[in-house]
C-alpha cells in the first residue's frame, strides 16, 4: 500500500467561478453551463446531481479542460490548487496535467478500455506518455491499487476488456485515474449500468480510496442515493445552473429549493404506498429550450412568482430561488 502524506498542501481544492460553457449550434451559441460558482474544498467528496442534460457532465469535463468542440468556455475560471486556472492552459500543458494530477473516470467507464489491448499494455502506454521512468514501479502501484479494490491484479493486467465484467472495468478505470498519483478525482456516473451489489462495492471503494490517498473527489450522478451514500457536500444542477449546494446531510434533511424538494420526494420508498413518491411534473429542458432569462426552473415550479420570469435568482446562502429567499428573509 502506498502511503500518501496527508498534509494539507498536497490536497488540491477547486474553485469554479462564473463558469459559462456554450455549444455552438445552428440555433446560435447555447449555454449548457451558465454562470456557475462552486467550490470543491480540499479533501472532501462532493456529489453533483441533476437530470440528464442538466450540464453536469459538461461541468465535470471542464475540470479537465476537455470540453469538446463545438463547445467552449465563454466566461469564468476553474482554478485548481497547484495547477492554476485550467481554462487558460494550452493543449500541451493540459495533456501533462490530465491523468497525472487530475484523475478522471469517464461516464460508461465500462467502454473506456481499448478493445484490442490488454489492460497492462494500456497501463504501459499511459506511463510512457507521461514519461514515467520507473515502469516497474508503475506496474507495482497498479497492482497495489487493483488488489486494494479486490481484484486479482496479475490476471486483470493480462486481460482484454471483454474478459472483464462491468464492475471490474469500473475498478480498472479508477485504477487508471489514480495510478499516476492524482489527487483530484472526478467520477462521471461511476455506478450507472452496474447491479446494486457492485454499485455498493464501487462506492465503498471510492470512499476508502478517497480517505486513504487523501483525495479531493467529485462524483457526478443522477442518483441522489449515491450522493447520500458517499458525499460530504452536494450540488444540485438544473438547466445548466447550480440551484442549491451545501452539506449533503443538511440538504437531504431539509431541501430548500423547489427542484431539490421535487427530486427527493420523487424517490420511491422501500415501504409504504408506491404513490407516496411524487414525480416532478413536466420535462427537463434541453439545450435549446432552457429559458434565456429569468429562473430556469420556473415552468415546473410550484412556487412560481412574477419576478421569476425576468430575473435569474442569485445564489444566496446556498440556494438560488426568489421564493425561498423571500420566505427565509421574513
Amino acid at each position: 500500500m502506498s502511503i500518501v502524506e496527508l498534509s494539507t498542501e498536497t490536497l488540491p481544492g477547486v474553485a469554479i467561478s462564473g463558469l459559462t460553457i456554450a455549444y455552438r449550434t445552428d440555433a446560435g451559441e447555447l449555454a449548457a453551463v451558465s454562470d456557475i460558482t462552486l467550490g470543491l474544498p480540499a479533501g472532501t467528496i462532493t456529489g453533483l446531481v441533476g437530470e440528464s442534460g442538466s450540464g453536469k457532465s459538461t461541468l465535470a469535463l471542464s475540470l479537465l479542460g476537455a470540453v469538446q468542440k463545438p463547445g467552449r468556455v465563454t466566461a469564468g475560471s476553474v482554478v485548481i490548487d497547484g495547477i492554476g486556472d485550467i481554462t487558460k492552459l494550452d493543449e500541451h500543458a493540459l495533456q501533462s496535467v490530465r491523468g497525472a494530477q487530475i484523475g478522471y473516470v469517464f461516464q460508461a467507464a465500462q467502454n473506456s478500455l481499448n478493445p484490442l489491448k490488454t489492460v497492462g499494455k494500456q497501463l504501459l502506454d499511459l506511463g510512457r506518455s507521461h514519461r514515467v521512468k520507473d515502469l516497474r514501479g508503475l506496474l507495482r502501484e497498479a497492482k497495489v491499487l487493483l488488489s486494494r479494490m479486490g481484484l486479482a491484479a496479475e490476471r486483470v493486467l493480462d486481460s482484454y476488456q471483454h474478459e472483464l465484467s462491468g464492475g471490474m472495468r469500473q475498478r480498472v478505470g479508477i485504477m487508471f485515474a489514480l495510478v499516476l498519483n492524482a489527487h483530484l478525482l472526478v467520477l462521471d456516473e461511476p455506478t450507472t449500468a452496474l447491479d446494486m451489489i457492485t454499485q455498493a462495492n464501487i462506492l465503498q471503494i471510492v470512499r476508502d480510496v478517497h480517505a486513504e490517498r487523501g483525495l479531493t473527489t467529485l462524483i457526478v450522478t443522477h442518483d441522489v442515493g449515491v450522493v447520500a451514500e458517499v458525499a460530504d457536500r452536494m450540488a444540485v444542477m438544473y438547466g445548466g445552473r447550480v440551484v442549491e449546494h451545501g452539506q449533503t446531510m443538511e440538504i437531504l434533511g431539509a431541501p430548500r429549493h423547489p427542484y431539490t424538494r421535487g427530486l427527493i420526494s420523487a424517490i420511491p420508498r422501500l415501504t409504504g404506498p408506491v404513490d407516496a413518491a411524487k414525480p416532478l411534473p413536466g420535462t427537463p429542458p434541453t439545450l435549446g429550450t432552457i429559458p434565456r432569462t429569468g429562473c430556469v426552473f420556473r415552468q415546473r415550479c410550484p412556487l412560481r412568482m412574477e419576478i421569476c420570469d425576468t430575473v435569474a435568482p442569485a445564489m444566496i446562502g446556498g440556494v438560488a430561488c426568489h421564493a425561498v429567499n423571500e420566505t427565509e428573509q421574513l
Binding site: 490530465r98 478522471y104 481499448n114 485515474a177
Partner: protein, 290 residues
C-alpha cells in the same frame, strides 16, 4: 501456461484459419503465388526455350498447359509472368494504403476544413472512371517501368480506402476508450497511431486486398488491350497474344494458351477473397480466441 501477446496473436491466427478450411486453402494459394513471383524466374532462362515445330502441343507431362504460338511452354509463361503482375499490384497497393490511410485518419480525426478538402479530393478520385483514364494516360506517359505503373494505379485507387478509414475513424473517435485516452492525457499522436489505427487495421487490410485484385485486373487489362508495350512477361501479354495472334476464340487448339492466364488470375483472386474472410477474426481479440 501464460503466453506472450505475440504468441497469443499467432495462435489466434492459426485458430481463425482452422475454423474454416477454405481459409487455409487461401493461404496456400497466396503462398504459391508469392513463391512463383519470387523464385519463379530463377527456374527458367531469360529467353524461354521455344520450338516452332511444337506449336499448341497437346497437353502432356512435358507441357501440362500446352504451348503457345512459337512452342513455348505455357506453364513457364504463367510462372515467369507472376512476378511482374504481383510486383505492380503490391506496390500500387502500398501507395493506396499509405495515401488512403493517412488521408482517412487525418480527415476523420481532425474533421472540419481539412476533412472537407480531403474528402472532396477523394470523391474526385472516386468519380473518375479509372480504367479509361489509365488508357488515356498510357498515351501520355511511358508505363514501361513497373514503379510508374504502380504509382499511377495506387494514386487513382485510394479514394475508396480513404472513405472507409474516415468513416471508421469518425465512429471510433467518439467511443469511450478514445475519450478516456484523451482524459488520461495521452498525446494526440499516440491516440491516432496506437489507439485508433489498430482498430481500423482490419478495414484497411480488407479494402487493401480488394484494391490489389482490382490493380491486377487493371494492369492485365491494359496489356490485353495492347496499349502497353508487349515486350515483358505478363499474364496480360499472354491473353493479348492468345486472342489477337493465335485466335484462341475460334481455334480450339490455342484454348489452353488463353485459359491458363485467366485461370491464374481467377485462382489469385480466390486466394485473396478467402484470406480477407479470415482477417476480421484475426484482428479482433474477442473473435480470435473463441
Amino acid at each position: 501456461m501464460r503466453l506472450s501477446v505475440r504468441q497469443r496473436f499467432w495462435r489466434g491466427v492459426w485458430v481463425a484459419l482452422k475454423r474454416r478450411p477454405s481459409r487455409i486453402l487461401g493461404v496456400i494459394i497466396m503462398a504459391l503465388f508469392v513463391f512463383m513471383a519470387i523464385a519463379g524466374p530463377w527456374f527458367y532462362p531469360d529467353r524461354l526455350p521455344y520450338n516452332v515445330d511444337n506449336m499448341y502441343a497437346p497437353i502432356s507431362w512435358d507441357h501440362p498447359l500446352s504451348t503457345d504460338f512459337e512452342g513455348v511452354d505455357v506453364l513457364a509463361l504463367v510462372i515467369t509472368g507472376t512476378r511482374g503482375v504481383l510486383l505492380v499490384a503490391v506496390a500500387a497497393g502500398l501507395v493506396t494504403m499509405l495515401v488512403g490511410t493517412a488521408a482517412g485518419l487525418y480527415a476523420g480525426y481532425r474533421r472540419g476544413a481539412a476533412d472537407s478538402v480531403l474528402m472532396r479530393i477523394a470523391d474526385f478520385a472516386l468519380t473518375i472512371p479509372g480504367f479509361p483514364l489509365l488508357i488515356v494516360l498510357t498515351t501520355a506517359m511511358n508505363f514501361g517501368a513497373w514503379w510508374k505503373m504502380a504509382l499511377v494505379l495506387g494514386l487513382i485507387g485510394w479514394g475508396g480506402l480513404a472513405r472507409a478509414v474516415r468513416s471508421q475513424t469518425l465512429s471510433l473517435r467518439e467511443r469511450g476508450f478514445i475519450e478516456a485516452a484523451r482524459g488520461l492525457g495521452l498525446p494526440t499522436r499516440h491516440i491516432v497511431t496506437k489507439e485508433l489505427l489498430p482498430n481500423v487495421a482490419p478495414f484497411i487490410a480488407t479494402n487493401l486486398l480488394m484494391a490489389v485484385t482490382g490493380y491486377i485486373y487493371a494492369q492485365v487489362g491494359l496489356y490485353f488491350l495492347g496499349v502497353l508495350p508487349l515486350d515483358t512477361s505478363n499474364w496480360g501479354v499472354m491473353l493479348n497474344a492468345a486472342v489477337f495472334q493465335s485466335g484462341a476464340l475460334i481455334s480450339p487448339d490455342a484454348l489452353p494458351y488463353l485459359l491458363a492466364p485467366l485461370g491464374a488470375i481467377l485462382l489469385l483472386t480466390l486466394g485473396v477473397v478467402l484470406i480477407v474472410d479470415a482477417l476480421e477474426e484475426i484482428f479482433n481479440p474477442r473473435l480470435r480466441e473463441g
